[in-house]
Symmetry: C2
Subunit: 310 residues, 2 copies
């Protein structure tokens, strides 16, 4: 039995999956994000893993982390909303649980899950763009996650799309996620609908057909398409998968994104444009991908699915 644990800023989610990636059990625990200690966070993870295991012996655990995981150095480098800093977390958990543990950035885990069991099944070269409070992402090339030299590849949200643009929480200006994210939505609706206080509120209003909220998604969708067009120029992927909470509205976001992508992609007439498709595995994608990585971690490269995933 393999378990995947997704560690985010507000909660820990543990799932067990069958060989097809279907979730057969899950457990959650709240956390205090960066205000808690590493000990508290790891206790919460242990509780969730034990609950989902429910007394059965485990073979391995995969951990999906909302932060910078340097797999090569076997360190968690930095997480905005978690207490780990330059910390050998994976090795400590393996010691604590007396189990093989693999650890990976959450967007990379989600990409692994969508490749193994979801929207990109059978597609070996694709990009994942996740739109939540900000934009995250992952690059899969030839069936393998491209992590980059320091494990930081896929931070698409901080590519500049506008000179002298909006200031970003990261300290830069004009970052893509300042125009295309859940945080942008209430800014766009505020004048006409000050009651819609955050991204989820605007999303719910759009799903109920509110025209102001729908117009906000139209704008965010256009920025999604323009940004994806730039990524296509750089990577020429076979598919672009859009995940994250904001993507739950589906075609309200993706239709304007597709139109803008077609208008804004270099040499669109001379190429096959990649399909822009919604992610299939929802908020559990990170945990499912982590479980998949744990399951395939021991597989010999060239002889099974493990070599395809990482």
């Amino acid at each position: 039995m393999y378990v995947g644990v997704d560690v985010g800023g507000t909660k820990v989610l543990a799932v067990s999956t069958d060989a097809d990636g279907v979730v057969v059990g899950s457990a959650q625990a709240s956390t205090r994000g960066e205000h808690g200690t590493a000990q508290e966070l790891e206790d919460a993870m242990s509780t969730a893993v034990a609950e989902v295991a429910d007394g059965q012996p485990l073979t391995g655990v995969g951990v999906s982390v909302a932060g910078l995981v340097d797999v090569a150095a076997d360190l968690v480098r930095f997480c905005t909303h978690l207490p780990w800093r330059q910390d050998p977390v994976r090795a400590r958990l393996a010691e604590r649980w007396q189990l093989p543990v693999v650890m990976e950035n959450d967007a990379n885990c989600a990409a692994v899950a969508e490749h193994a069991h979801g929207a990109a099944h059978g597609v070996d070269s694709f990009l994942l763009v996740t739109i939540g409070t900000g934009i995250g992402g992952a690059i899969v090339h030839d069936g393998m996650v491209l992590r980059g030299a320091g494990g930081m590849a896929g931070e698409f949200g901080h590519m500049r799309v506008q000179t002298d643009g909006r200031p970003c929480e990261c300290g830069l200006v004009g970052c893509w996620e300042q125009y295309c994210s859940g945080n942008v939505l209430p800014r766009l609706t505020h004048a006409e609908r000050p009651d819609l206080e955050d991204g989820p509120a605007v999303t719910a209003a759009a799903q109920a057909g509110d025209p102001v909220a729908c117009a906000a998604f139209e704008q965010v969708g256009e920025w999604l398409g323009v940004g994806v067009a730039g990524l296509i120029a750089a990577f020429d992927p076979a598919m672009v998968v859009v995940g994250g909470g904001v993507s739950a509205v589906g075609d309200l976001l993706l239709d304007p994104a597709r139109a803008a992508m077609i208008r804004s992609t270099y040499a669109a007439k001379h190429r096959r444009l990649p399909p822009l498709v919604p992610a299939m595995l929802g908020p559990q994608a990170g945990a499912i991908g982590a479980a998949y990585l744990a399951r395939t971690a021991g597989v010999v490269p060239g002889q099974g699915p493990g070599d395809r995933a990482m």
Copy 2:
């Protein structure tokens, strides 16, 4: 003996190299770009190859093409300044020359050359950005060129850096190369130095210390750094190599680019920024890389340099 042939819009350059990539012979022929026929172009290539071979028997030829080479489909798809369209050029040349022929996009060939013999020797994950009349590029990951699903990866010059920005020859607006290329230089100097009519003229003036020309390189360098910062967010490369004619001015371009890159890269304090270095092989890089590809084309993957290059 292996020969590499670089096919550009105005000329064909053939080189022979030794095993260290040192050019031991070269020959050129003029072409009429997109105004000539495929037959004329291939005759010019044959003449240059025969001249550089100088009667010695050849073992293989590599061809570097300024255009879209779909290696998987074995077709030249499209070249702005060459007559080939959806054309099985490689197979036709192999038949004509009765030799093994490999063919690859010129930026990819230049990246292979810089990896094998140049600035990125020993660096397995890097980006090449070439600045000439426009911007081209290539992605090397784990020692292999990342071509993309349709062979079009690396077109960094057509990523949008400015909404409602300058119109680009490609039909889009705000493309990076409208702010950072040889074509931009005379636009920047025109008011004060209308006599500097093109990129090479501004380059020569800057190299002679002219302050107006130097200021133009300062601006173009800043745009280079900002764009590279976005590529770092996406790829997290171990190195960024800058080639192309405009890069011949060296630090006049690269110093402002480095400063802007440091200011504009996401999480610069939490990462090792990649060195931004000049290409080493100059205008012959494409031909040298093509010769390298011809030399290593038959090498069994995992057993020699061929698997590292492609």
